[in-house]
């Protein structure tokens, strides 16, 4: 929530570090994330690189195809950045959208330049599903290649469309992930599960269930992400900086550690039916209170009880 900032009458509102990450547009997030004035966009809206496929469906197009890519600086350190716009077609990944991110990651590998991805996506864009699916596969390959070259690929998860489908697999290949409570990270979305498996399996209207199953707090508690931050632009900036301090390493040892970590998770929690049961087993005393906890209370408990990923990612 944005707390009121005292200001002289009629003065324009100052740039507010408390602005909600969830509420911001892709461009708004970038403008608050990066050092002021440091951002240069590649293939910006003036280039009008629109989707060649949406017209077939009489659907409107967006000048940037729902992703902003470019270069900027974070606390003086140069980075490459990509920000998805979750409000345009749910941030879905199509041919142009995907290719922009692939190209950025290829450059990152060659430049040994760290990348920050601001996820906000429902996954593949159905109207160009095959192109989107392949783009995701190419992005994953480009991501792991960049990491092998020593590049950090940091994912920020707190957008209104969440991070679903193929987007969640890309996130799973990042070197570090930062999430807010609002962030959702999952392959199948609630509506998809309900449509395919019935409301008994998943009631997508039960929003609390959605967050208990795939929301930021759960993902942080089970070690699915590395940092948990408030839903503000300033917190995500601090989170991105901290994530960029983590190692990029991706090799046999890291993957063996991830294998062990994920096997331990299944052994420890695999028979639970609900997030609250997982949290209880982690040793959280009042697991049903977790959703209502504010940031500080949550972090106090979570940092004592959570499963960490310990760079096994």
């Amino acid at each position: 929530m944005t707390s009121p900032t005292a200001a002289a009458p009629h003065a324009p509102l100052p740039a507010d570090p408390h602005r909600s990450w969830y509420e911001e547009s892709a461009r708004g997030r970038l403008s608050h994330l990066l050092d002021a004035g440091s951002f240069s966009e590649f293939l910006g809206p003036q280039r009008r690189e629109l989707s060649p496929h949406l017209a077939l469906f009489n659907l409107p197009r967006q000048f940037d195809d729902g992703i902003v890519v470019g270069a900027g600086a974070l606390a003086g350190k140069p980075v490459l950045v990509a920000a998805q716009e979750g409000r345009f077609m749910g941030g879905a990944i199509g041919e142009v959208h995907g290719a922009k991110l692939t190209g950025l990651l290829h450059a990152a590998r060659q430049m040994k330049r760290d990348v920050v991805i601001l996820f906000d996506t429902g996954g593949v864009r159905l109207q160009e599903a095959n192109a989107g699916e392949l783009a995701i596969s190419e992005i994953i390959r480009a991501t792991v290649q960049a990491r092998a070259a020593g590049v950090r690929v940091v994912g920020l998860l707190g957008g209104r469309a969440g991070c679903y489908g193929g987007g969640s697999l890309i996130a799973g290949c990042c070197s570090a992930l930062v999430i807010s409570e609002q962030g959702r990270l999952s392959v199948s979305g609630p509506e998809v599960i309900e449509t395919n498996k019935g409301v008994e399996e998943f009631d997508s209207k039960d929003r609390a269930l959605v967050w208990r199953t795939m929301g930021g707090k759960h993902r942080y508690l089970i070690g699915g992400v590395d940092l948990f931050v408030a839903d503000t632009v300033a917190a995500f900036r601090a989170g991105a900086l901290a994530a960029l301090d983590r190692p990029p390493t991706l090799d046999q040892a890291v993957l063996a550690a991830e294998q062990a970590r994920l096997e331990r998770r299944l052994a420890r929690f695999g028979d639970t039916a609900d997030g609250t049961e997982v949290w209880a087993r982690l040793g959280v005393n009042q697991p049903t209170d977790v959703p209502d906890m504010d940031l500080d209370d949550f972090l106090t408990i979570a940092n004592r009880q959570r499963e960490g990923a310990d760079a096994a990612r």
Partner: protein, 548 residues
Amino acid sequence: MRDWNTKGRDRQARLDAGRHFAAGKIVAAHDLVAFLEAVLRPGDRVCLEGDNQKQADLLAKALAKADPAKIHDLHMVQSGVVLPEHLDIFETGIARRLDFSYSGPQSARIARMMFGGQIELGAVHTYLELFARYFIDLTPQVALIAAVSADKDGNLYTGPNTEDTPTVVEATSFGKGLVIAQVGEIVDRVPRVDIPADQVHFVVNAQRPFYVEPLFTRDPAAITETQILTAMLAIKGLYAPYGVRRLNHGIGFNTAAIELLLPTFGERLGLKGKVCTHWALNPHPTLIPAIESGWVEQIHCFGSEVGMEDYMRARPDIFFTGPDGSLRSNRAFCQTAGLYACDMFIGSTLQIDLAGNSSTVTGGRVAGFGGAPNMGSDARGRRHPSAPWLRAGEEADPDGTPALRRGRKLVVQIGETFGDGNAPMFVERLGALELADKLHLDLAPVMVYGDDVTHIVTEEGIANLLLCRDKDEREQAIRGVAGYTEVGRARDRKMVERLRERKVIQRPEDLGIDPLDADRGLLVAHSIKDLMIASGGLYRPPSRFRNW
């Protein structure tokens, strides 16, 4: 010799009939239908308590199960037609005639039943008007009411959602009618006595709380930029210049946006302490940030709001609370307060015509009024001055003798030019007139009459109708803020520009409002969760609003 106590004897007969089913005053829930059949008479005037919030739902269900051969042709006099059972009884013939105020959730079905002749309509009232008639010509013979708890004697605790109950009981009990209460539990000692036992004749233990609709919860996540722009116009163009301290807000998203802009935009304008200090208002969750940042001095409530109980208990300086600490609401008193002691009503509507009449009747829907016509009208009996009231009076009649000139209440209609489903808010002819034609009504259900409306606010600007000197000016002022609706596009551009020069119409740029500020970032809270956090965890939103 005339019998001067027929009513008392009638009640005694009902009491005798009911006692067969009661232990003391307590009626068992499983006997409820038979009990009602025993105490009711065909043709009775019955108040089944229910408004836009609380519902005597157990009694409504029981009444709907009564045998229409035994109980029929009832005349229902009640605030709200909200539950399906409220209309079921008209389908079965248990009830025939209806006088009411509000029918939001049943607006489509009630219209069909009116058109189909299943409901004989008395009138659609404002709350206060219907309450008034309880004491004159619509006194109930039986009232079916709802309370939180009762003691063995029948003292009732109605809790935060007291609402209509004291009024209904006063009229019924002292009018020699029978009062039957459903309660959530029977306790040794009620937390406070809201209704004394000697006004209550029977009590049934529902063993669960009565139903309450969270009608006044507006999720900040759903507020649009256009609504924010409109709210900025209202704050800067109305609240600030008139210095409105005493007011009532409607329940729409536009006024919710105003509440959420006070601690940001309002603060920036330096308005804290100068506007919005005293309220006749339900406990809107969206007002929490303004309360917490010290804008609000006092709020009197029509009813409560689900989830706000603990918050209000913890803010006794702001809310009217009882010795037990919980809120005491009272719809009749709060409506009176809104009518006489507030300088502004601001709320949204579905249709406004060229004379400024507004109505919520559209197509096949009759939603009733609730309190809006009462809040949204000038109190002709008002005698105390206040700055906004005097200024509005002066604008309406600049040449009148100041000491003899009536002030005017600010009655503001706010909304976007296009509403839900792209329906235009401005129309040449109100849907209410078609309804009146169809049902052969003497009076179309107009929510706020044009001559009471002082301002209309849309994203296009503010039309100050007080400054209009004739019918033509008024029409063009309305067209001038009607945007790209057909009404708006048919405006006389030259006349609208002249009205703008006279500040009859003020556009966002005339008020120095930057369209770039019309951004959700200006809202002090973006979600229900933000409101919960702002309350320090005291506000407990109902599950359907939980998004975390």
